[in-house]
Amino acid sequence: MTDQQNAPLQALERATGRPALVLRHVSLAYDASAAIPILKDINLSVAAGEFLSIVGPSGCGKTSLLRMIAGHVAPSAGDIEFEGRKVIKPARNRAIVFQDYNRALLPWRTVSGNVELAFEGLAITKADRREKAHALLATMGLAHAAQQYPGALSGGMQQRVQIARCLAQEPKMLLMDEPFGALDAMTRQGLQDEVSRLASEKKLTVIFITHDLEEAIYLGDRVASMTARPGEIADLVNIDLARPRNQLGTREDPRFLAYRHRLFNQLERPV
């Protein structure tokens, strides 16, 4: 564990001194006899409101890591704490945005219906649910599609609906699993900025998985790079770039390129 991983993050305001998410000696293996575990001895400390990007090659376990933080998978060793409490199962305050948006949206409900799903089961009347859903969709520029079915929308819009549904959970943390992987470059860039804006507006802690190095640097306050077999965090880099970021300026910043170089070499290192 390098000093960097424990160093305070100067770029962020921290309300309290306690990190939002802590992973201690977390490992994951298919079974006890597996020669090489999926994830080995992961230690991580994420501050409240931080945007952490995780990059790594396929098979490095980043998706498994995310699913453990979400609570869908239990670690074979070590523990995960969110806001001081141990993570044992999924919860509303840790919303997870899946890459396959078409499978995560209910095809038999309209866009509004999908967002309302997050408000159901709470003590809110139907009319209120609809109103809140509509308000949320409006902030994301999706109000016009409220009565359409997900199947009729483009990929980018479907992903935004999923994000809207996750935001409707009023989470403290947003977990995103290569959310823009299936989208074209232009849509991706638009969504990157939108997520960045939403995260800072709602003061969300975000853990963002991607295999796109530049996307990771562009979005993150820190970037963790992972190696595969076993999955380990090889490097953890503070991204000291001004916010709000923009697609042209930030990407041409010499520091951006420096980070890119460093992490690129890290990723290219033979396993």
Partner: protein
């Protein structure tokens, strides 16, 4: 689905009329036996008579009532059982081989045993219809509930949905397309079994009607009865399709 233009419709209609006209001609002039193939006019007249003097209603409603009761019982039980079995890998392990083995069983084969058990009355009729109709719905429901996308389960867990809400808002809607496919098949089976039961047990109904018509060599009534049964099947199928469109309309929009 082929799109039919106006000229298509005209052509199809002309063809149908042509066939009927040829039949009418051949039967009227006895090129074909009017006993076995009565001219359509006679059959239509017989049908009209039955409607006008009210003779059609009791048999028609008897058949409908019988089959709908049986079908509804089968559908409700089929969906419930299918939900339970489909959602439980354990149950499926034990039950699926048996279900698969019973799948090709002719539903009407149960009739002799049912007669021994329940006699020749309405309870036998509805039991046979229900028993025969439950299989397609059951099998389709099991399929619908077991092949649910696991991603949806994860979404539900993330939202901390209660079990009840999960079943109603996710499990059931996800299984609906399969369930409807099963319902369509079981509806046809209900009709078939209703007719068979009537023929076998002499109970009131359209099936009994046509059997009696045959025994008395009243072929016009026979054809009229067959026509009615065809219409009944068609109408019920349309109603089901309409319901299906209302409930699973979203499927059409999928990319």
């Amino acid at each position: 689905m082929t799109r039919y233009s106006i000229s298509d419709r005209v052509g199809a209609l002309a063809f149908a009329i042509g066939i009927l006209a040829a039949w009418q001609f051949l039967a009227s002039f006895e090129f074909i036996s009017p006993l076995f193939f009565p001219p359509p006019s006679r059959s239509l007249l017989a049908l009209w008579d039955m409607i006008v003097n009210g003779q059609i209603w009791l048999p028609l409603t008897s058949t409908i009532r019988r089959m709908i009761f049986g079908w509804l019982a089968a559908s409700v039980c089929g969906v419930l059982l299918g939900a339970i079995i489909g959602s439980s890998p354990r149950l499926r392990l034990y039950l699926e081989p048996t279900l698969e083995f019973l799948r090709p069983l002719p539903a009407s084969a149960i009739i002799p045993a049912a007669i021994l058990l329940l006699g020749l009355g309405p309870s036998m009729a509805i039991s046979v219809i229900a028993f025969g109709s439950i299989w397609p719905v059951l099998l389709a429901s099991v399929y619908g509930f077991k092949t649910r996308d696991p991603r949806l389960t994860e979404v539900a867990q993330s939202l901390e949905m209660s079990w009840v809400r999960f079943q109603l808002e996710i499990a059931l809607p996800a299984a609906m397309p399969s369930i409807f496919a099963g319902l369509r098949v079981s509806l046809s089976i209900s009709l078939i079994l209703a007719v068979v039961v009537e023929m076998q047990s002499g109970q009131q109904g359209l099936g009994q009607n046509i059997l009696l018509a045959q025994r008395n060599y009243r072929s016009a009534e026979l054809y009229a009865g067959i026509f009615m049964l065809g219409m009944l099947g068609l109408t019920l199928n349309s109603l089901l399709s309409t319901a299906e469109r209302r409930i699973i309309g979203w499927k059409r929009n999928a990319h």
